[in-house]
């Protein structure tokens, strides 16, 4: 089915693949022990060698071992605080107790290497030598049993009080690439996940008072002997996570054909309504752009305040939001985190890109999708509208981008970034603004078509940067793709500025001769526009003459400098390059204009004076 859609060229709703090839399918049972904060699990993994090569080894990701002690790769990183902003405070780990391949016979557990390749202190990425090679198309059924001890919530998994967010909790096989190489990674604080698609059938056994949200559809639920036993099923996903808390309140709503299950803490009724409102807009909005959401369920978990580190995370068909109960009174953060995490259902969930290797493919593209959707929903007040001040997502991401490095490639592996602030500035903000720039310069609709084509064509197909570049080049053209490539791989940037503005009165001369007019003096104005950096976009330059006339000139932006001359009865008093602010990744917007007559600074004085007058009034004894 995937091959058919690839051949078809433009992918439409009719040709969207309905499901992924089931490479790694799990049938698991998990029992939650709320006294020991532990999960005992067992079950089977049905794995198919979907590559074109025989393999004689398997790799397993045992990511809870990242929290085993202070010497793991995760915890010995110089920046012990990871994406969620928290350090490990209660150790957690996963211990495999059974590993048997039915087709190969014998216990494979002794063959599981004790630590990550080349790193005796880390146990998150483990190689298993097989007794014989597994041929392409051949499958294995692995019987598994394990015990997971949950850490205090860190990196969006673990326990806080009686709240559980259980992610990366089972032994998960790494992804086998089509060429037969394993994409396996130790768990790095900056990195997320990458895995093959499969069908999940998971039975959860929790204390009776627990309210549970989990990946997939609930097919049964019963209570017996003080335990709640529920079964979740979902096909075509590459992970499974769940959350349990006795305090959840619940809202159910069918949105755009999807059963939405919203779990939130008491007192968060307004946040819950805002979350659902955001989903009512964003589910069809993203579906229209990037292909219909194919799963019947979406579970949204808003963790309680004391488990806030569990918020803002995506798993297939399950997202976590967050924020205090009063947040929706003064900001749009609730809507934004909802839209962002929902967007990950496409830019991570349905595309299955390699997050550790190319984080920009999920976080960068998804941040663009978040900006586009939030500005479609809220306009210029997409981030906040309080006290008469409206802030947009674009402005906030620009601030984030400007605080980060200016010349680093965006397409770096997550582990290569110096810290998460740098990753945030480059991967989230700069990538999103780069895409926005491409849209505003070469056509927003064309960009949307290109991204939509990428998202549809490579659904369930684990695309990489080349697939993105190809889809965008087909819509936006070679120049746009070159700019994108340079920014992604070479760290290219751009800054346009007005370097000089001069106007001289032309010498009087007989009527009709030279540049002077018999009706009055004429002026020759000269504007020097400069481009710094390696990216080159066509730009507009707006000239304003002394009588207020506005003249727009175009520059292909290819050279370093462009001299624009204007002869007329009025001198040019102001020049402004990129007056539409189309180039959202311009390094400095404030040097984009130059005036010989500056407007009086009345507004600044007015606001500052008034503010401090009120302050002085308030501070008087």
């Amino acid at each position: 089915m995937l091959a058919a859609s690839l051949v078809a060229g433009n992918t439409t709703a009719d040709t969207l693949p309905e499901s992924a090839s089931a490479i790694a399918s799990y049938t698991l049972t998990a029992r939650l022990d709320t006294t020991a904060h532990a999960v005992h699990g067992e079950g089977t993994l049905h794995w198919v060698n979907g590559s074109q090569a025989s393999v004689d080894e398997l790799y397993f990701h045992l990511y809870l071992n990242a929290f085993e002690n202070e010497r793991t790769l995760f915890n010995r990183s110089p920046f012990t605080r990871a994406r969620s902003g928290r350090a490990t405070r209660r150790w957690g780990k996963i211990t495999l107790t059974r590993l048997v391949a039915r087709e190969l016979g014998g216990d494979l557990l002794p063959s599981l290497e004790p630590h990550s390749p080349g790193d005796p202190l880390d146990g998150t990425d483990r190689r298993l030598q097989l007794p014989r090679p597994v041929a392409p198309g051949e499958s294995l059924t692995l019987e598994l049993a394990w015990d997971s001890s949950l850490p205090e919530i860190v990196e969006r998994t673990g326990v806080s009080g009686d709240f559980y967010l259980v992610g990366q909790w089972f032994p998960k096989i790494a992804r086998l690439e089509p060429d037969g190489s394993w994409a396996h990674f130790p768990f790095h604080p900056h990195a997320e996940f990458y895995a093959d698609y499969g069908d999940y059938d998971v039975t959860l056994d929790v204390p009776e008072n627990m309210i549970v949200g989990a990946t997939g559809r609930r097919v049964s639920e019963r209570v017996e002997a003080g335990r709640r036993v529920l079964r979740q099923q979902q096909g075509s996903v590459h992970d499974f996570a769940w959350s349990a808390w006795p305090g959840f309140e619940r809202r159910e709503e069918r949105i755009d054909g999807v059963d939405v299950h919203l779990l939130y803490p008491p007192g968060h009724t307004r946040n819950a309504e805002r979350t659902l409102a955001a989903l009512r807009f964003a589910l069809p909005h993203f579906g229209e752009r990037y292909g219909r959401y194919p799963y019947p369920d979406l579970t949204v978990v808003h963790p309680p305040a004391y488990a806030a580190a569990a918020g803002g995370m995506e798993y297939p068909t399950l997202i976590t939001t967050g924020g205090p109960w009063h947040q929706s009174y003064w900001s749009r953060a609730v809507e934004l985190v909802t839209i962002h995490e929902l967007g990950h259902q496409w830019f991570y969930g349905l595309l299955g890109s390699n997050e550790p290797r190319h984080p920009f493919l999920d976080e960068g593209l998804n941040s663009y999708a978040e900006i586009e959707a939030s500005e479609a929903l809220f306009g210029q007040a997409s981030a906040s509208s309080a006290l008469g001040l409206q802030l947009s997502e674009t402005a906030l991401h620009r601030a984030g981008m400007l605080l980060g490095p200016h010349d680093a490639p965006l397409a770096q592996p997550a582990s290569e970034f110096v810290d998460f602030t740098e990753l945030g500035a480059l991967v989230y903000s700069r990538t999103a603004l780069l895409l926005r720039t491409l849209g505003d310069v070469y056509g927003r609709e064309r960009l949307e078509r290109g991204l939509g084509e990428y998202a549809r064509r490579y659904r369930f197909a684990h695309p990489g940067p080349n697939e993105l570049l190809g889809a965008l080049e087909a819509e936006l053209g070679r120049a746009a793709a070159d700019n994108l490539r340079r920014a992604l791989f070479d760290g290219a940037s751009v800054n346009y500025s007005i370097r000089d503005l001069r106007a001289v009165a032309l010498a009087a001369s007989p009527a009709g001769a030279g540049g002077a007019s018999p009706d009055g003096p004429r002026y020759e104005s000269r504007v020097v526009v400069h481009r710094a950096g390696e990216l080159a976009f066509p730009v507009e330059v707006q000239l304003t003459t002394a009588d207020g006339e506005q003249i727009t000139r175009s520059w292909d932006g290819l050279g370093r400098d462009e001299v624009i001359a204007h002869v007329g009865p009025q001198p040019v008093i102001r020049a402004h390059v990129d007056p539409r602010d189309a180039i959202a990744i311009d390094e400095d917007l404030l040097d984009n204009a130059l005036s010989v007559e500056r407007p009086a600074p009345i507004d600044g004085w007015d606001r500052a004076l008034y503010l401090f007058e009120l302050v002085l009034g308030g501070l008087a004894p």
Partner: protein, 277 residues
């Protein structure tokens, strides 16, 4: 007061109000200088509409300028806050002038010195109450820290903060009555603090109505000014819009000073009546 002295006293009062306003204006200008300097250095005035661009919906240029000027603004933060505290405290000087113009008799020779001590006492009381409020708010919050309903801790903080604000308002009320007794009644600072209690006991109802009325009217004035300025759409960058906004804001400040003078006049009269009784 004789008919001949009334216009004179009116002029003195107008002068005192103007002095109070000018003090506020010049103090604010001094405090605003680093901000205005940073905005000017950013180059935003090279754009059409100049500074008005800072208030565009979306805040693109506002954040750009803040980022551009962040080091300059950060460097000026502590000096600006210190200067604001000093200028705020010295606000008792124009207040004393205002009270002097409102009293029936000329202020006593050491009125300014006594106002200084009174103001120090008031600031001390404000600081203590502020600390007490924060402490009580945090304690109240801790009682509800483990509540399932996350609104309860903030509600507890909110209740304590409201009580704290009301106590601060009460201190202002007390301070103003004492200040009236110092300047218009010739009392010493310590005596005035206790006299203010007698004054409040003697005519609490009418004084409270005047005080709260003046505060509410001042708040209403500021809100009305905000509403009117909001309709001006200064982001369009026309000079007349910006100038009108500036004018309205300054008028609002002047009006609040006038309302304060009206309240202090009532306080002076009450103080004088109590002394006569």
């Amino acid at each position: 007061m004789t008919g001949a002295s009334r216009p004179l006293r009116g002029r003195v009062l107008a002068f005192a109000c103007a002095a109070s306003y000018l003090y506020r204006l010049l103090g604010a200008a001094l405090l605003a200088l680093p901000v205005i300097g940073a905005i000017d250095a950013s180059g935003v005035r090279d754009f059409s509409r100049g500074n008005a661009r800072l208030f565009d919906p979306g805040g693109l240029y506002l954040l750009e300028v803040l980022l551009h000027a962040r080091e300059q603004l950060a460097a000026s933060l502590v000096p600006t806050l210190t200067l604001a505290a000093v200028l705020g405290f010295l606000g008792f000087v124009p207040d004393a002038g205002l009270l002097g113009a409102l009293g029936s008799a000329p202020p006593p020779p050491r009125a300014l010195e006594r106002m200084l001590w009174l103001s120090l006492a008031t600031w001390g009381a404000r600081l203590l109450l502020g600390l007490l409020t924060v402490g009580l708010a945090l304690t109240a919050r801790s009682f509800f820290a483990s509540a399932r309903d996350e609104r309860l801790p903030l509600l507890a903080i909110g209740v304590m903060l409201v009580i704290g604000v009301l106590l601060q308002v009460a201190v202002s009320f007390w301070h103003d009555l004492a200040a009236a007794d110092v300047v218009a009644g010739g009392a010493r600072a310590r005596d005035a603090i206790f006299a203010a209690l007698d004054l409040a006991r003697a005519s609490a109802g009418s004084l409270l109505v005047r005080f709260v009325g003046a505060q509410l009217l001042a708040l209403g004035t500021l809100l009305a000014a905000a509403a009117v300025v909001g309709t001006l759409e200064v982001v369009r960058g026309d000079t007349w819009r910006s100038t009108t906004a500036l004018f309205i804001h300054q008028l609002a400040v002047l009006a609040t000073i006038g309302l304060r003078a009206a309240w202090l006049r009532g306080a002076c009269r009450a103080s004088e009546r109590l002394r006569r009784a």
